[in-house]
Amino acid sequence: MCTGRIDPALVAEAFRKGLDGLLVVGCYFGDCHYITGNHQAKAKLDMTRRLLKHIGMNEDRLAFRQCSSGEGSVFVDIVTEFDTKLRSLGPLGGEGDRVRAPELFKKLEAAQAVLASEKMRWVIGKRTPFLESGNMYGEIFTEHEFNRAIDMIIVEEMEVQEILARLSQGSQSIKALAGDLAIPSERVFRYITALKRKGMVALDKIAGRSPMFQLVPQEV
């Protein structure tokens, strides 16, 4: 299988199920049978590493390396190096990670939802054209700019997915959401209004003085 076909959501799922490390070994740039498969893989995995770092996992647990099928010794070196690194980090959610076990797995669940969402897929799919040929208006972006945008999207999407995960358990008020997720309530309010405009969240009822919001089922 081509490394370009590795879905970031699968990566997050693997970690969520307790995997301690994931090494993706692809072809050299320029050797790709599908021309840009390994470039796609690198873009996707780079973005996934950024997300995993954001949620508090050690991003070295996910690595992208390159070697050709004829280079046995290089492959051995790569695997040995990764193995040593992983042994020094220890099990997932332990000493090697910023966020510890039970919370990390909860975050990984939200991360999987982020990586599986349309938004992340669309954005990362646009990376190569944006950096090389530009958008519809011929505006070419620098890598720095794109990565900065990605970082911002990761932060926002994580918070939005956490909100949606809470709302899937029943309607909630903004105050309760803000308290649960430790996000400032004006930010939660902005996310909720944005989601409302997109038709993903709707007003359920008003309990006392607080409006309660609920999830709107989406057609897939």
């Binding site: 349309e118 938004k119 669309w122 954005v123 208006y137 070419i140 972006f141 620098t142 890598e143 720095h144 700019e145 945008a149 999207i153 926002e156 309010f189 902005r190 996310y191 209004t193 944005a194 409302k196 405009r197 997109k198 038709g199 993903m200 709707a202």
Partner: protein, 557 residues
């Protein structure tokens, strides 16, 4: 149009009502609204689905179907001018960034749009996405796009700062340099001397400190130098035959020549009065701020595009302005401000050249390596960058003491603050709130100066507090050399008597702001000779504008 027409700015509820009233009164009405929708319509999608539920201002329908009302949505007013008893407005109508003929209203874009931005519709109370602004009347979507970034907008040449700084962050140094050179042919020189209005405007300063936009330019230019890469400025294959003469090889003239060569003009001649290129960059800015070798290299690169730079060719002495006009299809005047203004105090004319040297001459003679009688005390009068440069150059020449005399305080000084600090650090003594009254001399040479103390009064037209002399506070200081650096003016004697060019009361040219054309067809002007003494990057901008103007003029001839 009828003789009576009304422009209504803002198509909100009030604007719409007013438009209807005026139109009913028989006037022609134009509504200009900055959002793509009229009448503050922006209803959430979920409410539009039920038609009866939607709030629609009944006036809107009437406005849309009124023959007397012209609606310009998504437009900005760029300029309002009085014109012969009428008011004339320039309006920029933006085009929508979504091709709505291809849009099938699937709403997927709104769901996946990754840009969460503060909604200017409700003053940033909520978030919205960049693709938004559903227009209920037409069913149109639009992607909101900000205007130029604040740094690019504040840069006179509108350098694409965001891109080149981003490319440096990516490590693509030479690409970044190419981005800069697309508009600015002198990155190394400007990167050293620019007072960077872009950094003053930079939004990053509200977080910690502005991005060092100016020095980043110098950084990439130095990388090229360091690696020993010799770039070649490309000119197009197709050459244009017209001849163009440029007066002055300063930043304006060089930039104008550069952009003309890039458009394909192969007969571009620069007439430079001095034996060196660069104008003020060479003879005004001292070596310690801008190494001559580096400037020479950048000028050589421009000359390498096939531009003929004739040194020691002073227009009015070696070649007449009329001949230039006759021999060429277009002339660009970028002669600069090379005459120091006078103090207008007694004794000044008497000792001219005998201890009194204006800052332009002082700096020029130092830059050209002419000998100077260095002894005793030097007093520089003024508070601009030219004054600081003169003082710091004087300090390097070896005067015993160097003073700067300024009539206001340090806070009001127009010089760059970092230059003032550097001068103080080097040992230049700054005396604030003092002004010259009389130049004193002995045996045909300057021996000192009588000054008067000042105090700050009410703010004047420039917003700075006006200095007021304190009566009876005169004092005398000894000095062997006095350098007035109070401002510079243009020297237009080279034009001859009957040039016919419109010159205003500041002795600078009146030009068309769009094309840099003067009132005489085929003659263009830009740089300090139009603006008065100003920063280099603004002269570069004027050179570029003039190149575009000359191109348009010659192609439409």
């Amino acid at each position: 149009m009828d003789d009576k027409s009304v422009l209504i700015v803002g198509g909100g509820i009030d604007g719409v009502r007013e438009a209807l009233e005026k139109a009913t009164g028989g006037e022609q009405v134009t509504i200009v609204e900055k959002f793509p929708t009229l009448g503050a319509e922006r209803i959430p999608r979920d409410r539009l689905i039920k038609p009866g539920d939607a709030f629609v201002n009944p006036d809107l329908d009437a406005v849309r179907h009124n023959d007397r009302i012209r609606i310009l949505t998504y437009s900005d007013i760029k300029q309002v001018k009085k014109d012969n008893g009428k008011i004339r407005a320039r309006i920029l109508k933006h085009s929508l960034r979504v091709d709505n003929t291809k849009c099938n209203d699937c709403k997927a874009c709104i769901k996946v749009c990754p840009v969460n931005m503060f909604d200017d519709f409700d003053e940033g109370f909520t978030f919205r996405t960049a693709v938004d602004y559903f227009n209920p009347a037409t069913g149109e979507y639009n992607i909101f796009k900000e205007d130029q970034p604040v740094c690019q907008r504040s840069c006179p040449v509108n350098l694409d700062i965001r891109t080149y700084v981003g490319q440096i962050a990516d490590g693509k140094y030479l690409d970044s340099l190419a981005t800069i050179r697309d508009r600015l042919p002198l990155p190394g020189s400007i990167g050293r001397v620019c007072p960077h209005p872009c950094e003053t405007a930079c939004n990053r300063q509200y977080l910690d400190e502005p991005i060092s936009i100016c020095f980043l330019k110098r950084f990439v230019a130095d990388i090229e130098l360091d690696k020993g890469i010799e770039p070649v400025y490309q000119t197009p294959e197709k050459k244009l035959p017209e001849k163009i003469a440029i007066i002055g090889a300063g930043p304006a003239g060089l930039t104008c020549a550069y952009h003309l060569a890039r458009k394909g003009y192969r007969h571009v001649t620069i007439h430079e009065a001095l034996s060196v290129p660069g104008g003020y960059l060479w003879v005004g800015i001292p070596e310690y701020r801008l190494p001559k070798e580096l400037l020479k290299r950048e000028v050589d690169l421009i000359a390498g595009m096939g531009i003929d730079i004739r040194y020691n060719s002073r227009v009015g002495r070696d070649i007449s302005f009329d001949d230039l006009r006759k021999d060429n299809d277009a002339v660009f005047i970028g002669a600069g401000c090379h005459r120091g203004l006078k103090l207008r105090v007694p004794g000044e004319d008497e000792y001219e050249g005998k201890g009194i040297v204006d800052c332009v001459t002082f700096l020029r003679e130092q830059a050209l390596g002419k000998p100077f009688d260095v002894k005793g005390k030097l007093i520089v009068i003024g508070g601009g960058n030219a004054a600081i440069d003169s003082a710091r150059v004087g300090w390097r020449m070896g005067f015993d003491e160097v003073y700067i005399l300024y009539r206001r305080t340090k806070k009001e000084m127009p010089a760059n603050p970092w230059e003032i600090d550097a001068a103080e650090h080097e040992g230049v003594i700054l005396q604030y709130l003092a002004a010259p009254v009389e130049i004193l001399g002995r045996n045909g040479r300057v021996s000192g100066m009588k000054c008067i103390k000042m105090e700050l009064g009410e703010p004047d037209a420039s917003g700075r507090r006006r200095p007021v002399p304190i009566q009876g506070s005169e004092y005398v200081i000894d000095a062997q050399t006095i350098v007035p650096a109070i401002s510079q003016g243009t020297d237009l004697d080279f034009l001859g008597k009957d040039h016919g060019l419109a010159v205003n009361r500041w002795n600078t040219f009146d030009i068309d702001e769009e094309t840099a054309a003067t009132n005489v067809p085929g003659v263009f002007a830009g740089g300090d000779v139009v603006t008065g003494p100003d920063i280099a990057i603004r002269a570069v901008a004027a050179g570029k504008k003039a190149a575009d103007g000359i191109h348009t003029y010659l192609r439409s001839k």
